[in-house]
Amino acid sequence: MTPGMKKYKLKTGYTELVQCLLQKGKNVIAPKYSGRTLLFAKIDNAADAVLPDKYVNTVRSAKEFMFPVTEPIVEFSYGNKDVKVFDPVVEADEKIIVGLRPCDAAAFTVIDDIFNYEYKDEFYFTRRRNAVLITFACETSDEACFCTSVGLSPESPQGSDILFKKNSSGTYIAYTNSEKGEMVIRQAEELFEELTESEEENNSIYEEVSRSMRKPLDTVKIKEWLDKNFESTKWDEYASRCLGCASCAFLCPTCHCFDIVDEVKYEGGLRRKNWDACQFPLFTLHASGHNPRDIQSKRYRQRVMHKFKYYSDRFNKTLCTGCGRCVRSCPVNLDIYQVVSEITMEGVENE
């Protein structure tokens, strides 16, 4: 665990924690069903917050609370010769995101780098500063999960302000990881007590979950192959069945590509930043008609390269936290874990 991390015992269950935060007037975001779809949503009633041992993960990641699906970045008004531009109000009220999984909390530490690279995107960072991330370690996984392949685990603390883990008797222990986390503990102090030295913390369940997951990948080997195989028939093979939808990118907690569009009403309008994806042909289409990634194999290659090579070339991080959403959601079961594990098996070609 990170040095300086403090430990507290939660005297109640999850719902009581959510209830307490709501009572203190906090803006709580947690996994909640919308019909059959489990999504992070604002909680008004603590009972709506689905218990962390009742789900593997949400359909969408929590990325949209820092980097919304669509957000205004510039407002403008115009008469004929009189144009004015304004900063839109960033809806970044303080929020506590509860019920995250380690993969999703860690994703923020990965994409922080790009939003801070050369130019700082304050839309992202204003929300980031105002959000507290409270993670619950995974007591189950499914076949799509592969966080152990990318340096994480069902109990990784990366990116979390507080990580909750159950001890062997089923009590939640809170591990704080930041001052923001400490503050939440203080605000809900009646629910917590300091953990005494003698108390049991361990629980083998998290290691069992780790072991039950797909065999860890060798990201170094993957990168070695990618370094040498920009041109490979493998790309055509994999992409031939890809439908070119962007489910994978849109559900990914680390995919961060966006479009910028203007929308107009009467004498003014908004400029918006919208999620976009490298799997769409229009993404890279030049005005001249030239398209550097004109076929799906080039676009699929871009996705894999960006995740396992380009991002690590620049930021020394893998642009993937193994959450498995792309695997679960792909309509044709194009499975990135399978793809990169296959290329590693193939060894390093074209030396």
Binding site: S34, A144, R241, L243, C245, A246, E263, W275, R328, N333
Partner: protein, 285 residues
């Protein structure tokens, strides 16, 4: 059955009768299958057919995949319901009959996840209507599991206007504009989708109520009298927006106006592409 499938794929490829065979292979997750596009006889051994083969492979017969318009046809494994998509593509001159070698599969219904796929509930065709080769025994035709294919649509129709609006706005609110619905649809083959057009921009591309509503309604209109009900949009939508309900509603309107069901006859003209003197004018008031 998987054995027969491999044999026929192997024969077609080794005899050079087709340029490729599009079929199903084992998936990486329980209950899922992958698409396999085989170009050599060697790959044929991976083909399978089972109750998880819910995917409609007709989507790969649209031009952008580059598998048709070769000197030889592309062979494709199709369930009876998938053949309807081929019929529609032929009707719309997207595909020539001779460019596709249909390997028909008799089908007793497939699963989507752990349960029978929604499209199978109202299915009344269990054997291929036409084909170039057929795999598997003919199965007994049976009555659909539900008596009224439009029952779900009627449920929505019976809501008050406000309830209907609230229902759909809540559904569309989940849309993040990934366009998986469009990409999975065999009949969404436009080279440039209206949502991508910018001069002018007909549909706002942002995921907000106006953009999402416009997108889904316009897509439904574009599929009116064309959608064969394969349900791939529903299946591709990870947000579980019941998109095929919209398409079914349009299908019901078309059926009531023109007595037409899409994807049944390669020679038939889709009603919205032709004019007849006796066409209903009830909607003009």
């Amino acid at each position: 059955m998987s054995n027969d499938i491999r044999q026929i794929a192997h024969a077609l490829l080794s005899e050079g009768k087709v340029s490729s065979v599009i079929g199903y292979a084992e998936g990486s997750l329980k209950g899922r299958v992958q698409t396999l596009i085989a170009h050599t006889a060697r790959e044929a051994e991976k083909f399978i057919f089972n109750e998880n083969c819910v995917n409609n492979l007709a989507v790969y017969l649209t031009k952008s995949y580059g598998l048709i318009n070769k000197d030889k046809p592309a062979a494709v494994f199709l369930k009876p319901c998938d053949i309807k998509s081929v019929t529609a593509l032929i009707q719309e001159h997207q595909l020539r009959r001779e460019d596709v070698f249909i390997i028909g599969l008799s089908c007793q219904g497939v699963k989507n996840g752990n349960v029978m796929a929604g499209k199978c509930m109202g299915c009344s065709i269990h054997n291929p209507q036409y084909y170039d080769a057929i795999v598997g025994e003919t199965v007994e035709e049976k009555e659909p599991g539900i008596s009224d294919p439009f029952a779900k649509v009627k449920e929505i129709e019976n809501m008050t206007t406000q309830e209907r609006w609230d229902f759909w706005m809540e559904q569309f609110d989940k849309c993040i504009r990934c366009y998986a619905c469009r990409q999975a649809c065999p009949l969404c083959y436009c080279e440039e989708c209206i949502v991508d057009k910018t001069q002018p921009r007909w549909i706002e591309s942002s995921s907000h109520p106006i953009g999402n509503l416009s997108w889904h309604l316009i897509r439904a209109f574009h599929l009116a009298g064309r959608c064969t009900g394969c349900g791939e949009c529903d299946r591709a939508c990870h947000q579980n927006i019941p998109l095929s309900l919209l398409n079914m509603k349009m299908g019901k309107e078309i059926f009531e106006l023109y007595g037409y069901r899409p994807g049944m006859d390669t020679e038939a003209k889709p009603p919205l592409t032709e004019f007849k003197m006796e066409d209903s004018e009830e909607f003009i008031r």
